[in-house]
Every structure is written in structure tokens, then in C-alpha cells.
């Protein structure tokens, strides 16, 4: 253990803070200050990390969710206490995370997607203003998995996010007045928007949700200045619609060919074939590429869509300004398990087999920790991080999973004991990477399922599902786990198991060598990043499905913030509107989530913590 004394570190950090005071992500990008104190030699960060603020959903472009602040550290975290609790009066899952920009904290609520601004310069952080976009309530009826929103991005003086009814709104960060508003989807066709808008340069990117309602998945690029649509990149259909052109060079043969988004489907099935984008977008400023994954094909019944069903369950690399595709790697061809691969993709340069490589870390819903070369889309490694039996592994030469046919359902035939379940080895909840430890901190599930495909009828605006599914705890009996994963050696270093419930919160790693995460029961925890020892915990009012952030206030003090408020897909079983006597309810999660009804209850609050 060669660690600096916390006091020395704090002094060093203060000096850094002075040096870079007033910088924001855009400026830092030019200055390219991508090193942090204590960073491993084997790691190169491709994006500047936050400096007191939290301006993007993951804090930085690379989705590391790492913040170098270290005032709160392993030595003093036991003195962490609540300094503020803010209720929003909503009882739906509070996913996502706040933003902190120029001494103001911004919170987006679940439907009705209000934006609240709090003044960090005044005691008890009073509200400065509230912006109400008034989305169409009909959107609630076509949202598959609770009425959630995963946050906003800041750019050019505006807070930008999307409402459940597919309106992207840009709000003046100072005044709370709407600057522009653009509708990018149709609730009457089953589209909703739940993901956090992501800003690169002058482009706002946002995808659609609705993989269970027969939507056609896509990402829309809008102008940050005035909201006009600059490009739309579909995930099914002809190459032109998918923005596949001469620059497109997929690594694997299976992903090469013309109009695969049409040819890998039965006639016209691609038109409502799913592949939505509702997770996270990341950006590598050095390669000028954005990365995101696409969701499951529709319907869930695979027999209704013979073929690879491109480009569902795929990772894309695209030029953010034109939307043009650079490469694509389909991770799950002809998905039969609802393995949405919308998980975070973390660009990081690391020593890999003796040389520095441009990696993309993708802890997959399908249970494998996938490491890719982000310049080409080549798979470099695929190791299971939770019990997996749908495939024995990946053939890195062909990029194909080695699927167990017995775990693939067909119409009227149950595939039994399939691991992981549709909810995945992990859900959309994002992991964090620390350049000080070289570890990825993965919020994971160990849930398996019995899964039967049934005939689905496409009726516009209603579920296009075709499945009867029930879930339960996997081998070992535990359901959730926070994993400290050594990226370079592709192995688990430590884990904190949850016997009863999956881990359904995002993760934050800090310069204080702390990892923060929450449990579905409502515990908010600080863990030693090296050992996984729980150093501090606090019981919030409801289950945690949000993502922790940290920031520095005008008085120089470090704070940590988290949403408490159970909901989402698995968490929705805590809602009174779901009955436990149907273990197939809520797309099958009810079977696995029974205990949640007595362990927590809905009700949203923002919690802010600081040292005593």
C-alpha cells in the first residue's frame, strides 16, 4: 500500500483546484488535463474529469464516473452526515443523477419531468426556480418500466434533457426559461424517452425507449444552439437510415454487408423491430467518436423474427457531428433473452497484454465483461462477472457468442433456468472506473429465469412482447452484488453480496479511494475502493435506483448527492399496483422481487451529504 497521507493529498488537490479553477469540460478538453493524482501508470484517461462541477450524466465524456475530489476519503468518511433532503412529491423510480454547474444543483424528476434548480451558495440550498415542461400524460401508458428519467447534460449555458413524451428541452441554466423544445418521437407508436441527453460540441444526442412496444430504435442528433434535428441514426432498416456510409468498417465478417438492417429480418419486421437506445452515450475526444449500445429486438419471441436482427443488441461507434457510423459490433445476434446492450461503454487507454491499447469497457447485460478495441470494435476479452449459462463464452475470432441452444426459447417452449435473466448480469445502472485502482466497480445482479416465447400481435401503441417469463435468484442464492473488477486481469477482486435484492444503483468512484453506491433497500454506502470494505452507510427513505455524484461547493467543501426513490423495472414491484400472486407480472421480475414490498416503499428524495 503506497498511499499518500490524506492531508498531503488534500493540499495537492487544492493546488490543482487553484490551477484549474474556473475551467469547464470544454476548456479542459483543449487543455487536455487528463491526469489525476495517484493515477496508475498503466492508465490513460481520454476525457477530462470533473473539477468541482458535474456537468454530464456520468461527470465526464468517458463515463468513468470518477471524480478526483478527495476531501472525503477512507480515513474520514465515517463522519459523513446528511446536510439536506429535498422531496419532489413523486412516488416513481428516481433514476439518473443531478447536475452541478456554477454553484447550482439541477434535478430532473421522474414524470412529469420537472427541472429544479437549487442555489449552492446559500445555507440549506434553497430552490432558485422550477421549470415544468408538462409532458403528455398518455406517455405514462406506453412506458415499459416505470415513468423514469435518467438525467440531463449541460452545455452552452443550457440544461438539456428529454421528457417521457419524447420532447427534448433546453432550459436556460440561469433563468429556468425554456430556450427550445423539439419533439423527436411519437408516444402513439409506443415511443418514450427515458435516457439522459448527452452533449458533444454543438450536438445533443438522445435515443428512444420502447423495445417492448415495437418501436424502431434510433438516436437523434439535435443542434445545441436551436434544437433543430441534424441527423437521425436508426438501428434497423436500410444503410441510409442507419447512417452507414463509406466510413463504416465493422471488424467482424458477421457485421459486414449491405443493408443488413433489412436483410437480417423477415420482410418489414425491421419497421417495428426494437433496438431502442435508452442507456448511456460516451465520447472519446481524441478519436472524435461517440459510443452507445442498442436494445433488444422486438418482439421477445425470437421465432417471429428469424435472422440476426441487426442492429439490435449492438455497440455503435459514430461521428457525433454527422452521426455517420464508424464501426458496429453486434454482441447478441438474434437475441432470445431481452439482453439489451444499452450498458455504458467506457473508453479508456490501458496496458493490455503488454502494450497501451485504446479500450472500450462494456459490462454487458448478458453477463460478460466485454473489453473491445474502440478503434475497430474487435472483442479482446469476454469473462463472465455473474453466473452465465446462455452462452459458454465468446469466440473472439468471429465475435460470436457460443450459445447453448437449450437456453434459447421457442414459441410454446420453456427455456428453463436461464442465467442471467432478462434483467441481466447488470441493468442500465452504470458502473464506475477508478484510474487509481484500475478497477471497474460493477453494480450486478444474479437473477435467472424460466422463459417461454408466445405469439405476439403487433397492435400499434400496445406491447409487442410475446413472452411469459418468471425470474428467481441464481446459483448461490444471492441476488445482487457490487463487484470490484480488475480490468487488466479480467477478474473479480472483491464483492459485496446482497442476499435478497439486486444492486440497482449507479456507482461513483472518487479520489478519496471511495466507491459510493446504493441498495434497493435504501442503504447508501461508501466502500474502500481497494478492499470492498463498507466504511460508512446511511439508510435513506426509499430504495435507491439513482446514481451518486460528488461536487465542491463555493465554500470549497466536498459533497455527495444521491436520489432515493424506488422504481424502475425491478424496483417497480415495490409499487402497490403490482401483485405478488402473479410471478410473471411486470415482465417476469415479480417472481424475484417479492421481498421488496416489505423492505422499502416508493417516495422520491434527493439526499446531500458532507463531513461533520
Amino acid at each position: 500500500m503506497k498511499r499518500q497521507q490524506p492531508t498531503l493529498k488534500a493540499v495537492f488537490l487544492c493546488m490543482c483546484a487553484l490551477l484549474f479553477a474556473g475551467s469547464d469540460l470544454g476548456q479542459a478538453q483543449d487543455g487536455a488535463n487528463n491526469t489525476v493524482p495517484g493515477q496508475l501508470q498503466s492508465v490513460h484517461l481520454v476525457s477530462p474529469v470533473p473539477d468541482g462541477d458535474w456537468q454530464l450524466p456520468a461527470g465526464d465524456y468517458a463515463n468513468t464516473r470518477y471524480d478526483p475530489l478527495d476531501q472525503i476519503n477512507t480515513g474520514n468518511v465515517k463522519n459523513l452526515q446528511v446536510v439536506d433532503i429535498v422531496a419532489d412529491g413523486i412516488t416513481r423510480g428516481h433514476e439518473g443523477q443531478p447536475l452541478v454547474v456554477n454553484n447550482t444543483l439541477y434535478m430532473v424528476t421522474p414524470f412529469p419531468n420537472n427541472l429544479l434548480a437549487f442555489d449552492l451558495t446559500k445555507p440549506n440550498f434553497p430552490m432558485r426556480w422550477k421549470y415544468e415542461p408538462h409532458p403528455n400524460p398518455v406517455a405514462k401508458g406506453v412506458a415499459c418500466c416505470d415513468w423514469v428519467n435518467r438525467g440531463a447534460s449541460y452545455g452552452d449555458g443550457k440544461i438539456v434533457y428529454a421528457t417521457l413524451d419524447n420532447n427534448v428541452v433546453a432550459v436556460d441554466a440561469n433563468t429556468g426559461k425554456q430556450v427550445w423544445r423539439t419533439e423527436v418521437g411519437d408516444i402513439h407508436r409506443g415511443e418514450t424517452t427515458t435516457m439522459a441527453a448527452f452533449i458533444v460540441k454543438n450536438v445533443v444526442m438522445v435515443g428512444n425507449s420502447g423495445g417492448e412496444l415495437g418501436v424502431r430504435g434510433k438516436v437523434t442528433g439535435l443542434s445545441l444552439s436551436d434544437g433543430h434535428v441534424m441527423w437521425t441514426a436508426y438501428n434497423t432498416g436500410p444503410d441510409n437510415d442507419c447512417l452507414i456510409g463509406p466510413d463504416f468498417h465493422p471488424f467482424y465478417k458477421k457485421d459486414q454487408g449491405q443493408n443488413l438492417g433489412v436483410k437480417t429480418w423477415p420482410a418489414d419486421a425491421w419497421k417495428h423491430g426494437g433496438g431502442p437506445v435508452w442507456g448511456w452515450i460516451s465520447y472519446d475526444p481524441e478519436l472524435n467518436l461517440v459510443f452507445y449500445g442498442t436494445g433488444n429486438p422486438g418482439p421477445w419471441n425470437p421465432d417471429q423474427r428469424p435472422g440476426d436482427n441487426k442492429w439490435t443488441c449492438t455497440v455503435w461507434a459514430r461521428d457525433p457531428e454527422t452521426g455517420q457510423a464508424k464501426w458496429a459490433t453486434q454482441l447478441v445476434p438474434h437475441d432470445a433473452w431481452d439482453y439489451d446492450e444499452i450498458m455504458e461503454n467506457i473508453p479508456i487507454d490501458m496496458n493490455w497484454d503488454g502494450k497501451m491499447r485504446k479500450l472500450l469497457l462494456h459490462p454487458a447485460r448478458n453477463g460478460f465483461m466485454l473489453v473491445m478495441d474502440r478503434t475497430t470494435g474487435e472483442l479482446l476479452s469476454a469473462e463472465a462477472f455473474e453466473p452465465v449459462n446462455w452462452a459458454s463464452g465468446y469466440d473472439l475470432k468471429t465475435g460470436l457468442p457460443q450459445v447453448d441452444p437449450a437456453k434459447r426459447t421457442h414459441t410454446g417452449i420453456y427455456a428453463r433456468q436461464v442465467c442471467p435473466s432478462s434483467t441481466g448480469g447488470k441493468e442500465f445502472v452504470p458502473s464506475a472506473f477508478s484510474p487509481r485502482t484500475g478497477m471497474l466497480y460493477i453494480p450486478a445482479h444474479n437473477t435467472c429465469m424460466d422463459h417461454e416465447a408466445i405469439q405476439a400481435n403487433y397492435i400499434v401503441g400496445t406491447p409487442y412482447l410475446g413472452s411469459s417469463t418468471t425470474m428467481f435468484a441464481g446459483p448461490g442464492g444471492y441476488q445482487g452484488e457490487l463487484i470490484g473488477w480488475d480490468v487488466q486481469h479480467a477478474k473479480k477482486v472483491w464483492s459485496i453480496k446482497d442476499d435478497i435484492l439486486p444492486v440497482y444503483s449507479g456507482v461513483l468512484a472518487t479520489g478519496g479511494d471511495l466507491v459510493f453506491y446504493g441498495t434497493l433497500e435504501g442503504w447508501f454506502r461508501a466502500v474502500d475502493a481497494h478492499t470492498g470494505k463498507v466504511l460508512w452507510q446511511f439508510k435513506t427513505g426509499s430504495g435507491i435506483v439513482g446514481d451518486p455524484i460528488t461536487f465542491r461547493s463555493p465554500d470549497g467543501k466536498q459533497y455527495v448527492a444521491i436520489y432515493s426513490g424506488v422504481g424502475g423495472w425491478m424496483g417497480a414491484v415495490a409499487q402497490p399496483s403490482i401483485s405478488l400472486d402473479d410471478p410473471y407480472a411486470a415482465l417476469g421480475v415479480t417472481g424475484a422481487m417479492g421481498p421488496i414490498k416489505t423492505l422499502t416503499a416508493p417516495g422520491d428524495d434527493l439526499y446531500i451529504f458532507a463531513l461533520k
Partner: protein
């Protein structure tokens, strides 16, 4: 017999509506669906006895089974849960009925749609099939429920542990 009662109720209601039309401003056009006699909202004054039409298929096992098939066929299962336990839409298996638990109330909820996402199926699903759906929904949690939500017995299967 039940059908006759229902028909009589419908005819009576239609005549009542027709009589009123002679004095009142023009009524909104009829939808073709039966007038179920459900008040639009709370009626001022003391509670009055109300006789609502009953589901002609109630207790008919064949019709209830058909209702189960229709529940899957029209994607009701996608929102309300494979066996009605809830999900995107509320559970139909609990004791809470947001819009009433009479046969006619459930019929009206399906036919007219409800706020927050319940589509209005009245123009898509024939009347008799809606009544069969009502019969299935009311059979939930009873011994008459077709295809109840039983967890299939689990065979022991070897699983691959993570490294």
C-alpha cells in the same frame, strides 16, 4: 335468461335516452356500444339504487377460457402482466378497482379506455369478446381462473459459475 335481462335493460335505456332527446339539446352520437347506465361522475344527493347490466358469460368456463386467450391476443398481458398481476398497467388481481368492479364498470374501462394509458378498445374488440374478457378478469384468484400463474417445477440444471 341473463341475456334477455341485459337486452331488456339496453332497450329500456335506449328508449329512455330517445324520450329525453325530444326535450333536451341534441345528444352526442351513439357509439354503437350498449349504454351501461353508469353515471359519468358522482351524482349529487343521497345514494340511489343502481342496477347495472351483468356479464352474460359470468361463470361460463368456455367463455372464460376464451377471455384468457383474448387477454393475451390483444396484448392486455403485456401491460397488466402475463396473468394480470400488473406491470406497465395496474394489477387486476388486487382488491383495488380504480374505475369500479361491477361487470359493467370493467366493460366500460375496456371499451372506453382510461387515463394514463388504457386504450379505448370499444371500436376494435366486439362487444361479446369484451364481455368474455370481463369474465376472465373476474375469474382471477378464483378456482375457475383458467391457466393460473403457477411457477413451473424446476428441473435441476448445471450452471456455469463466473470465474
Amino acid at each position: 335468461m341473463k341475456k334477455i335481462v341485459v337486452l331488456a335493460a339496453i332497450i329500456f335505456a335506449s328508449i329512455a335516452v330517445a324520450c329525453r332527446q325530444q326535450q333536451d339539446p341534441p345528444a352526442p352520437p351513439m357509439s354503437g356500444l350498449p349504454d351501461l347506465g353508469i353515471p359519468v361522475g358522482p351524482v349529487p344527493g343521497p345514494r340511489k339504487p343502481m342496477t347495472l347490466p351483468k356479464d352474460p358469460y359470468m361463470g361460463d368456463p368456455v367463455a372464460t377460457q376464451e377471455g384468457r386467450q383474448l387477454f393475451v391476443w390483444f396484448n392486455c398481458a403485456g401491460c397488466h402482466g402475463t396473468h394480470g398481476g400488473g406491470g406497465m398497467a395496474p394489477s387486476l388481481r388486487d382488491q383495488d378497482w380504480l374505475y369500479g368492479d361491477d361487470d359493467a364498470h370493467i366493460f366500460a374501462s375496456i371499451a372506453q379506455g382510461r387515463g394514463s394509458g388504457m386504450p379505448a378498445w370499444g371500436t376494435k374488440i366486439p362487444e361479446q369478446q369484451i364481455w368474455k374478457l370481463v369474465a376472465y378478469i373476474k375469474s382471477m384468484r378464483t378456482k375457475e381462473e383458467p391457466d393460473p400463474p403457477l411457477v413451473p417445477p424446476k428441473p435441476r440444471v448445471r450452471t456455469v459459475r463466473a470465474k
